[in-house]
Symmetry: C2
Subunit: 429 residues, 2 copies
Amino acid sequence: MTEPLRIALAGLGTVGAGVIRLLDANAELIARRAGRPIEVVAVSARDRAKDRGVDLIPFDWVDDTSALATHERADVVVELIGGSDGPALTLARRTLGAGKSFVTANKAMLAHHGLELAEAAEGASVALKFEAAVAGGIPVIKGLREGAAANAIERVYGILNGTCNFILSKMESEGRDFAEVLAEAQALGFAEADPSFDIDGVDAAHKLSILASIAFGTQPAFGDVAVTGIRHILAADIAEAAALGYRVRLVGVAEAGPAGLFQRVHPHLVPVDHPLATTTGSLNAVVADGNFVGRLFFQGRGAGDGPTASAVVADLIDIARGEFGPPYAMPAASLTALPPAPAGERRGRAYLRFAVVDRVGVLAEIAAAMRDAGVSIESLIQRGAGADGTVLVAIVTHDGPERCIAQALEKLRGSQSLAGEPMWMHLLG
Amino acid sequence: MTEPLRIALAGLGTVGAGVIRLLDANAELIARRAGRPIEVVAVSARDRAKDRGVDLIPFDWVDDTSALATHERADVVVELIGGSDGPALTLARRTLGAGKSFVTANKAMLAHHGLELAEAAEGASVALKFEAAVAGGIPVIKGLREGAAANAIERVYGILNGTCNFILSKMESEGRDFAEVLAEAQALGFAEADPSFDIDGVDAAHKLSILASIAFGTQPAFGDVAVTGIRHILAADIAEAAALGYRVRLVGVAEAGPAGLFQRVHPHLVPVDHPLATTTGSLNAVVADGNFVGRLFFQGRGAGDGPTASAVVADLIDIARGEFGPPYAMPAASLTALPPAPAGERRGRAYLRFAVVDRVGVLAEIAAAMRDAGVSIESLIQRGAGADGTVLVAIVTHDGPERCIAQALEKLRGSQSLAGEPMWMHLLG
């Protein structure tokens, strides 16, 4: 057995403690698979005294997190602090600058600084690995970077945020409204006290931009992801979708083509027989469409200490084996910069829902706006007034340009007939 | 750009031609991802004159397939001939013996000779890769070898034969019987003229033994796989299963534990909400249960020229990158030899179906055999006589030892009340 791979670990939250537990529980197996033991030698976190359920005595405690980058005994730094900038970024830059490999679960940092960090890693011939940053324990970075590497990927899409999926699944199975289910998810620890990163789609957008870069060989372009979250979905939307044979999921979709790079996180109606529809609860799932392999589907647990630690340690095993290369599957310098593809040029079917005032002429106004914008209606359902006196009108359109729907909604903006913003969801095609 | 990775290709059937087409169609992308071009330099097949829809002029044609092993310009040999022994095995041994890397889609050869070939590859410090041998285009070898490498895998199971799944899906959706659907599948090219390797479960067993070895760190033990195919499943079985909330799938299951290595390919009843139930048509799917990651699910196309070529070329890209190590995730010499775990010690629920003669006392005889063997019956359905005058009795048992069911069936063997062999399927737990 050769020398161990020695780890400095920054951040001892649930995932950091999970990594320590995993490396201990599966130590013998990991050493066999990695060809050598993997050992934590140093740790750093904010509060030394906190009980994390793991024994920290064997490790060198380092107060200054950024000093882990140059810890004399560490071969690799694992960053589990989080945050796009600040201490995590400082640590990443210093570690790669010191010629050591760096493993992270930090999607926000990668979404904002991934290209710079990849260049630094390649320049130093060390690893920058981030399997845990997307879809938790599912080896989807590896699946795209290596497993599907022979393919031109036409589209990559998936359910990238377990909190949103948990909430939507619960709204679906229990017929309850968003706010109520969110509060319960927070109480259970499935949603953060400040849930906006999750429920507004930002977290999914971070992950989508990473997937897109690897799938298409394009520079990460988080700023170009169009993002809509799940706050405004009603129990009634989910019920209408179910009646139509669909389930509501927050789906991140990325496509690369002649029009540029299209990236969007948005609520979608997913056909019940699509694998994303059977992705329930806090599961994550990713689909990649390759030009030779066809559709690949990966599903598993997208968060939690066990799955995330599994992904972090998989990266460490790759490093211990020496099986790593450019973080984005090809040299960062060769990633192309694609312009964002305008959504208006896209075609598709849409679900539109209006909360309207219950009075004569409302339906005619909506129908006229659709007609004038050239939107072809496949079905329209109006349900009787709810407790607040409003009526819901749900429309499913035929296939057509999204531009036309945007025009119709623009025309209806400010109409006295509407009570609140319309809901627009895309049908997954 | 460094030197190309140069390939000698043995076998020019649909997959071999697919590899040539893929390397041509995605050449630029592959060179970016692999860090260098991947080029075919030599080919060998039985019939030089046959039109395969690809231009063979650029390649050196070699009549003696085994001579590819020492082709002076080739870095890697890709074997797509098939067959557990014969020319494929000769080529594998000679290639590795010559210190060149070897890529194959040949599950039969790996099931029988994988350990020997892995030792040869490790001895020569070259790659032996076989992503295409299991589940076609789905990167499940990589998923287990690397993606889930941090985990103790408790169980790996899946749908490993697209022909069987196609037939079962069609029996399910159309209510037709096995023989009829098989004939149609053969006419469509979804089943071989001699389908026994597929429908009797042998092909799935080859693949399962490969997955088990990588998942558990055990020596491949194809001879210990208990195999039952799908020949004797009736449309009525599928209908009964559906009424109970299950779908019928041919599932390969492997588990490693204190009792030894359990490997079985057998028709199972899969709950409709399980991802294997939504794996329809010729799709394949694999589930791995890891002690930290939980359940990982991989689904995609398990056969065909495009998906299989995708997996072959993914292996070539890994080799071009230098990202490869021991074929079975750890040195072959360190794989443990586990004894086969006896099925009788297993517990579970079962579906049992009897075709019986329609006369007084038959049900009592079956019920008594169950009682005497200690089998607890959860439900029993008897359906009126079919065209041939026989009656079907379908039983679902409570959880219990498989040994008891085997005893009950043994007791009923040769009974004048039974018209034909009973059908025993396991409920996926």
